[in-house]
């Protein structure tokens, strides 16, 4: 069971690098949505001994939300904004890929310093979480285009979700669903703002957002 889970986490980490290296927006969204689906499967694998409807619901909501709904929204926004050319990022693709790889290695090294419970030992959840958070940061900082930044933010949240799996047995459902709800609402709000920026600036290139500075 641990091997299956680690394989999924390894795949998610690979998708991080894919997201960093993909120069085209559709493939970035694809990587993110695939990662979301992987994350949705994880609670089922982790708790396969005592499955119940709550877990199933969470898994279903995650897969539907992170894997289907949000990517569809982003794709629609992308089509509406008519982004067909590649916008050069602040941090180039090769440097961001190298940063991501360095981040992944650092995540593995860092997680050695954090002790785990015996039942979590040998799981890649912590390095996977740190690597995803770092990937999200690189995308947030390095990309110049609003939808890519949103993807970065979502990958960052995926990392936090990975970490949250460690607490799956102890956190009550109320908190989890509240968190899921907030994330969903957050994405909707972001989507609306992306739409408004598109209308106000006629572009989603955030390099045009430079009126406010000292």
């Amino acid at each position: 069971m641990n091997e299956t889970l680690n394989l999924l986490i390894g795949l998610a980490m690979g998708l991080n690098l894919l997201a960093l290296g993909s120069s085209r927006l559709p493939s970035l969204i694809q990587a993110m949505s695939f990662q979301g689906m992987l994350l949705g499967l994880m609670p089922l694998i982790m708790e396969h001994e005592h499955l119940d409807w709550r877990l199933g619901l969470i898994a279903l909501a995650t897969i539907a939300g992170k894997g289907v709904v949000i990517p569809t929204l982003l794709r629609r926004a992308m089509r509406a904004a008519n982004i067909d050319r590649e916008i050069e990022p602040f941090i180039g693709f090769v440097p961001s890929l190298l940063l991501g790889a360095a981040g992944t290695i650092a995540a593995v090294a860092l997680s050695q310093a954090l002790p785990l419970l015996p039942e979590h030992a040998g799981l890649l959840l912590v390095p996977g979480a740190i690597a995803s958070v770092l990937t999200g940061f690189v995308l947030l900082i390095g990309r110049a285009e609003a939808i890519s930044q949103v993807c970065g933010y979502l990958i960052l949240e995926n990392g936090i979700y990975l970490f949250g799996l460690l607490l799956i047995r102890s956190t009550p459902l109320v908190v989890e669903s509240g968190i899921l709800l907030d994330v969903t609402v957050g994405v909707f709000v972001i989507g609306i703002i992306v739409d408004r920026i598109q209308r106000a600036f006629d572009s989603l290139d955030t390099r045009k957002l430079t009126a406010l500075r000292e």
């Binding site: 290296g21 693709f93 890929l97 992944t104 290695i105």
Partner: protein
């Protein structure tokens, strides 16, 4: 006497089998496209035809124009002799021969670029510049791959490095080495061997001004390089040492064939990358090999 016989047999095997590979790739491409395509032995005919032709030389060119391809071919043949062949082992094997292999490949590349620059044409110079700048990244990847094999087995000799499988990182290593194979042999998505537009060529543009026997040598050398990389890839991934000699030979042949079919499929299904994206893919190959190295390193310690 046995040694001599072994050596000659090996040479014949490498030299004769190599030109088969581009034929296999072309066959796969033709099959995917639904065409009849050229015969599998086309490169043999080409080589025979070229060998009978005369050489046209630029007035600017020094003897390096002819010497370059010759030295490159010899270097590649030497590299081929270092490469073990499944149960048969290598013709020459010593500690650190893997470094020798890398340097021989680099020497071959240097000579090709040198010969290209001899023509004094702007196009050849451009091709040489591209080839060398991509090679920097590809070499980083292949050195990392070799390092990961070496860490995995604790050895620096090709025969013992390639005998076991690459362990847990085998998938990563396979993907990385395959990408390097595509880049080093100028296949799609790095370069298009069929292109006829000088501005978009990499390798082909370097050999534009060669003709006759030097061109034949270059083409033959390229096919040997392809075979060399395919053999390296298959042996790095498959646990050759654990198989019976017959099975290992079969696995090697089958593996090389599979790699060629993979190259053919990629060539049919993918488009060539834009130049500025090539470093990105090569960096990916490097990272794949790097993670294979980390897995090998970590796996050994646990």
């Amino acid at each position: 006497m046995m040694l001599m016989l072994d050596l000659i047999l090996r040479l014949v095997l490498w030299l004769l089998l190599a030109p088969l590979l581009p034929g296999v790739i072309n066959r796969v491409k033709a099959w995917v496209a639904g065409r009849r395509g050229p015969p599998v032995l086309q490169l043999y005919y080409d080589l025979a035809r070229l060998w009978q032709k005369g050489v046209v030389m630029s007035t600017l060119a020094s003897p390096g124009f002819v010497a370059g391809p010759a030295v490159a071919w010899v270097a590649l043949t030497g590299a081929a002799l270092l490469m073990p062949l499944g149960p048969a082992g290598a013709a020459f094997s010593f500690r650190g021969d893997v470094l020798m292999l890398i340097y021989l490949l680099a020497l071959a590349r240097f000579c090709t670029a040198w010969a290209a620059m001899e023509t004094g044409s702007a196009f050849e110079g451009m091709g040489a510049a591209r080839e060398v700048s991509y090679a920097v990244l590809a070499e980083a990847a292949i050195i990392t791959a070799v390092l990961s094999l070496s860490v995995q087995t604790g050895s620096v000799s090709l025969v013992s490095m390639l005998a076991p499988s690459a362990g847990a990182g085998a998938v990563l290593l396979a993907a990385g080495l395959f990408t390097v194979l595509l880049a080093e042999n100028c296949r799609v998505p790095f370069d298009d061997p069929n292109t006829h537009l000088e501005l978009t060529m990499i390798h082909e543009v370097m050999v534009l001004d060669h003709s006759g026997p030097p061109l034949a040598v270059i083409l033959h050398g390229a096919s040997m390089k392809l075979l060399l990389f395919a053999v390296l890839l298959v042996q790095a991934v498959l646990p050759m040492g654990d198989m019976s000699p017959l099975a290992a030979t079969g696995a090697l042949a089958g593996g090389v064939l599979a790699v060629m079919i993979g190259v053919g499929l990629i060539e049919s299904l993918l488009a060539r990358l834009a130049f500025r994206r090539v470093p990105l893919l090569l960096t990916t190959a490097f990272l794949l090999c790097l993670f294979a190295l980390l897995v090998a390193w970590k796996g050994n310690r646990v």
